[in-house]
């Protein structure tokens, strides 16, 4: 078995109350775990799982998925191969998870190890008696159709085995950044967002709060929604920290500009502060959040930690029901349909799923960085002859313009009540779908 023990703190982790093992799967996962290990996560065990040795690991225990057939080569982006490799090394994976109460799985979906192996690893972790929370990223739109599809299949499989899945599309994280931000920087920022979220969840697990959120509650929230979850972790310090946090909240890109909250079914909020955390602050944060999600069930937790002097951290996980209540049997089909249709025209016109946000907010222009644009251009020019040959699938698409026509009240003075335009149909504002 190709298992090497490099981490000294694996034994220490087991004695703690909630032994947490953080596992990175695939190149993206390993990179992320490396940076996580450098951060402030006391008492956690770090495990890196990869098929090839392409990413050096210094701070995490490495489990290499090996097979005699491949002779040290990686999965080559084939999830099937990733799955087989993981099955072959199932016992080693189980060993790596042993003793952990909670396994946090970190992976970038879309590649071989990420999409193929992580569902198997999640199963291994469950069989060894741990609860599994998966934190996964979805590829950028520009990474291509195939990768998106693989990622989606991987996500569906992971949803079936893991206790909870929190997923972060890279494309959304890119909105956090300036348009002409560096390529590596974009990935870094995306990883950072995920780390923030992990840290928030990790805090939930580690600190037994004054108002505690049980782990099973968290899992129930994450299970319910079948894939569409939004999370935000915010932190602020100083005397105006409660206000600062609340100001940042609607601007958080992962919450779709507040629309995610409005349509949320369940919202889990954890407030974390130092000994100086006041009731008024907790109250203020909770009141503001509850007022933003009038239709949701809000689960709240609060905890105090000595090291949090003068700081306030709010972790928020919102889930909403999927737009299409598809059963498991039809799921792969719909995911395919939802994916951007072939090649370049979809890149230009449909950067995201052609779902129609039910708010009157106009979606921002497709967020492409300069690199992405260049890449896109290169792809188009390079493949244009072939694309033309095989291009009967080009179709006229419509821009996702979402200004709801106010019909009769188009030209009259809008009726604004507490910031809501009452002229728009109620069901549109409340995000209730009619299907």
């Amino acid at each position: 078995m190709g298992t090497e023990m490099t981490s000294p703190n694996s034994a220490a982790g087991q004695t703690k109350r909630r032994a947490v093992t953080i596992m990175g799967v695939g190149t993206a996962g390993v990179t992320m775990v490396e940076s996580l290990a450098g951060e402030d996560f006391p008492d956690a065990t770090f495990v890196a799982i990869n098929a090839d040795g392409s990413v050096p690991t210094s701070r995490a225990e490495l489990v290499r998925l090996e097979s005699k057939l491949l002779r040290g080569m990686g999965t080559g982006g084939d999830p099937e191969r990733g799955r087989e490799l993981a099955e072959e090394n199932f016992e080693a994976l189980k060993n790596a998870c042993s003793g952990a109460e909670v396994v946090m799985l970190v992976a970038g979906l879309g590649g071989g190890a990420g999409s193929g192996a992580s569902p198997v690893i999640a199963r291994a972790a469950r069989e060894s008696g741990a609860l599994v929370l998966a934190f996964v990223t979805l590829p950028f739109n520009c990474e291509g159709n195939q990768r998106q599809r693989l990622a989606q299949i991987g996500l569906d499989q992971l949803c079936n085995v893991a206790d909870g899945v929190i997923c972060l599309p890279h494309q959304k994280a890119a909105k956090l950044l300036e348009e002409n931000c560096g390529f590596a920087e974009t990935f870094g920022a995306s990883a950072k967002v995920l780390i923030e979220g992990m840290r928030g969840v990790w805090r939930l697990l580690r600190y037994r709060g004054l108002i505690e959120i049980h782990f099973d509650e968290l899992c129930a929230v994450l299970r319910e929604q079948q894939g569409e979850s939004y999370f935000a972790a915010l932190e602020a310090s100083g005397t105006t920290r409660a206000r600062d946090v609340l100001e940042k909240l609607p601007a958080h890109p992962l919450l779709d500009g507040g629309a995610a909250l409005k349509q949320a079914e369940t919202v889990l909020v954890s407030v974390m502060g130092g000994p100086d955390l006041s009731m008024a602050e907790v109250n203020r944060v909770m009141e503001d959040i509850t007022s933003q999600c009038p239709n949701a069930k809000v689960i709240m937790g609060a905890a105090v930690d000595e090291t949090f002097r003068d700081r306030l951290a709010v972790t928020l996980i919102a889930t909403r029901r999927r737009k299409h209540d598809t059963s498991k049997a039809t799921q792969p089909k719909t995911t395919e349909a939802e994916l951007p249709a072939p090649e370049f025209e979809s890149e230009l016109i449909h950067p995201s799923k052609p779902e129609r946000p039910s708010a009157r907010l106009v979606p921002p222009a497709p967020a492409l960085t300069a690199e992405q644009r260049e890449q896109l251009l290169a792809k188009q020019t390079g493949r244009s002859p072939r694309a033309r040959k095989t291009g009967p699938r080009m179709k006229q698409t419509t821009l996702p313009l979402d200004i709801v026509n106010k019909g009769r009240f188009d030209k009259s003075e809008p009726t604004i009540h507490k910031g809501e335009d009452l002229d728009l149909p109620t069901y549109v504002r409340r995000g209730i779908s009619l299907n």
């Binding site: 019909g407 009769r408 009240f409 003075e413 009726t415 009540h417 009452l422 109620t426 069901y427 009619l434």
Partner: protein, 405 residues
């Protein structure tokens, strides 16, 4: 044939219809409805006039019809107004009693009411009504008529309804444009409540919700006086507009669907049922899911009631409505709206009936005529009140002449 003073006309320029009701007051002061004129309204959105020329024509039609039916010539009307700009709040006026014997006189009462009206309004707003609630004499609450009482300090609580002056003027101008006088301008919600509520219900505490075409007006009575008024610029037009948007049918069809197949509650029985919508030429347009139709309507109406409930809760009045809520206006006809309203408001809800007036039975039975009938009723109160003080004034002047000061 009638003395013109005993003829009282209420005119409502609504979003869906212009309606004139002619009432006749006999010598005993009882009111009889003798005429009704209606015209489809075209130039009004959300209760406010947007096309003055068109609306003038509509008003003329309605007035002519009412004149023919009642066989009278209409010279002046009580005009109902509404709109999202109208607000109501409670205010208290104070006046020191200065006379040597500390007896409160009629002038003191007038002064204190004047003080209560002197409030800080936005520059272009004007007071529409200042309705007396209670007097306080030296801090003692619950005095209804302080004249003749002794006291050093007279206070009064009034409910002030105010609105945007120019927008109120628009309605008045439209009526003056066809050579009619406006006796008084009355807030529609107030008029509806006058038509619908009996004195006993006002005493117990009642909420009147008038959901018209363009606006929803509501008034709260408690202890016999008006405690709260409000306007939401949302009404039946919004329901139709929501349907047109959600079901992708033309606005006219949406209106028709609302009237013929609408419901304020979604029942399990309608799940999966569809209706065929045809165009003007009888060609099939598309099929409409009945469940969606009802759900869109239900959500909109539910929201209206929720907003009202929120407002009343803020005002702390929800606990005082022992007589329940009364619905009027066109939307009160929607099936299931009573059930929905009582669910949201948690009150007994009934359709408001205009029982305190005699006359045309067909008119009185319908919830959409509550406002114009209420306007006539307002007018009748006004006539009675004007008649009474003049008599008292006369007597007073006689006595003051006789008695040396």
């Amino acid at each position: 044939m009638f003395d013109s003073a005993s003829i009282i006309v209420g005119l409502e320029i609504g979003t869906s219809k212009v309606c004139a009701v002619v009432g006749e007051m006999n010598d005993e002061g009882s009111l009889n409805i003798v005429g009704l004129g209606q015209a489809r309204s075209r130039g009004v959105r959300k209760g406010e006039i947007v096309d003055a020329r068109v609306i003038e024509e509509d008003v003329r039609h309605a007035i002519v019809e009412a004149e023919q039916m009642a066989d009278v010539e209409i010279r002046s009307v009580y005009l109902g107004v509404t709109g999202g700009h109208i607000r109501g709040f409670n205010n208290r006026g104070v006046h020191p009693v200065v006379s040597a014997d500390r007896e409160i006189s009629e002038e003191d009462v007038q002064d204190v009411v004047k003080n209560a009206k002197a409030i800080n309004l936005p520059a272009d707003n004007s007071v529409l009504h200042a309705i007396r609630q209670h007097f306080l004499v030296d801090g003692h609450v619950g005095v209804t008529d302080p004249v003749g009482m002794l006291g050093a300090r007279l206070e009064v609580d009034v409910h002030v309804v105010h609105g945007h002056l120019n927008r109120l003027q628009n309605a008045i101008r439209a009526v003056r444009g066809i050579q009619l006088e406006v006796d008084e301008v009355v807030f529609n919600g107030l008029a509806s409540s006058l038509a619908v509520l009996s004195p006993a219900q006002k005493e117990l505490g009642a909420l009147v919700i008038d959901i018209g075409g363009g606006t929803t007006d509501y008034v709260v009575y408690s202890g016999g006086v008006i405690k709260h008024t409000g306007v939401l610029a949302v009404g039946g037009d919004h329901v139709s507009n929501d349907l047109a948007f959600g079901l992708k049918v033309p606005l006219g069809r949406a209106e028709q669907l609302k009237i013929e197949n609408g419901s304020a509650v979604v029942e399990d029985a309608v799940k999966g049922r569809t209706l065929k919508v045809t165009s003007e030429l009888g060609l099939p347009l598309n099929a409409v899911n009945v469940e969606h139709l009802h759900r869109i309507m239900s959500l909109r109406l539910e929201e209206i009631f929720q907003l009202i409930a929120q407002d009343l809760e803020q005002a702390g009045l929800l606990g005082y409505l022992r007589a329940g809520a009364f619905l009027c206006g066109g939307c009160a006809r929607i099936p299931g709206v009573i059930q929905l309203a009582s669910q949201v408001l948690d009150l007994p809800v009934t359709i408001g009936k205009t029982t305190s007036v005699n006359g045309l039975k067909s008119t009185l039975d319908q919830p959409e005529f509550a406002t114009p009938i209420g306007l006539v009723k307002f007018g009748s109160f006004k006539c009675k009140r004007d008649a009474r003080p003049s008599l008292a004034q006369n007597l007073k002047s006689v006595f003051s002449k006789l008695l040396p000061r």
